[in-house]
Symmetry: C2
Subunit: 192 residues, 2 copies
DNA sequence: GAAAATCTGTGACGAAAATCACAAAATGAA
DNA sequence: TTCATTTTGTGATTTTCGTCACAGATTTTC
């Protein structure tokens, strides 16, 4: 009936709001399977943003080029929705890049088709709202970590709350995510 | 017909999604006018979170006590929705405080009544979703500022994108918001 | 499997920011 | 107004972290 990947997607959506079979079936129609090889861009700076990606397998990074350096602002693991929200909602060109950090499988959800869904039923609005609530809570927490925690505490925070990132992501990228120099993070990890 | 404050509220909502007169009228029913004197708490750490506040006049700060120090994580000015989202959505006790930094007028929007509205019409869901999109974009930006910008650049960011905060909020509180020592921010402001 | 590219570890060093300390200024309360 | 409290400015000192440099390790590419 449903493929393996479709079941994973549904389980993920269920965490936010349970769709009926019919609603989920319509939802699947806006999903287009796309795979990316390592280092391929899902969204490139300067380009228009056509939607978001549900990560099935692999890893996706969000970064911005600042003084020629790739500053990572977020990471998306399987079961998460990789996005660059600002350009998506304002319909402007993105200043950031979404890049596959490993070979990655995804469903692409087209922006306009998502908007159509929103008009179709309050169920999709609710799903979107709850997903956003979840994303915002996470982003609040990240800001807090950066505002108040010392380098070592930031690392401990990752260990405790986002341990999967430690294995999946090169330390170099994690450093920019945590607002630290690569060497500092390396030394923190070295002791103990 | 509508009071001054109700018109301000409506104009604010319109920025996200336009409600019909009837919808807005129902919306007003969940709004309860509340005023706070300076230093009064809208939400206290340890307490249950009963909703969000639309700021009519004054200033509201969101802070968390860390090692006995008040670390400010956000500020809300007139026309904004003061909130502590995590405890609101998870229905848990708040670890943070919402406090009036000046004499403040607000509408309190009761959590359960908001949930009822969501069930009533997709229009409210859409409003909530769009408001959340806006909040998330702002929070993404703040994280970026904290991840990538040096102290002086953080101050310039405030000057450029949130200049009202510079006047409305004591420098001491802004320092924690920007992840800096109070003295550092004072010196940045001193030169030039 | 060899070469290239990327990523990590580690020392030395310096710059930047945190901390400490205290005085001055501004604000608020009685 | 006066006193108390809060907020801000500024110097001296210490600490932390970023920067630079380079070697070793790991991963990718062909």
């Amino acid at each position: 009936m449903y493929s393996e990947n479709e079941i994973i997607l549904r389980r993920t959506l269920d965490k936010y709001h349970v769709l009926t079979d019919e609603e989920f079936s319509d939802f699947l129609k806006v999903c287009e399977y796309k795979s990316f090889s390592k280092k391929e861009c899902l969204l490139e700076a300067g380009n228009y943003n056509y939607g978001i990606y549900f990560v099935i397998s692999g890893t996706v990074g969000l970064f911005e080029l600042i003084d020629g350096k790739e500053m990572y602002q977020n990471f998306f693991l399987p079961g998460e929705f990789a996005n660059e929200l600002k350009s998506l909602t304002t319909q402007s060109h993105s200043t950031k890049n979404l890049i596959a950090l490993d070979a990655t499988e995804s469903y692409h959800l087209d922006r306009q088709q998502l908007l159509n869904l929103y008009e179709q039923s309050a169920s999709y609005e609710k799903l979107g709202r709850k997903l956003l609530e979840h994303l915002l809570a996470g982003q609040n927490e990240l800001s807090h970590v950066l505002q108040s925690l010392k380098p070592e505490e930031r690392y401990r925070y990752l260990e405790e709350y986002r341990p999967k990132l430690l294995n999946a992501i090169p330390l170099t990228y994690l450093a920019s995510y945590l607002g630290l120099a690569r060497e500092t993070l390396s030394r923190i990890r070295a002791k103990k």
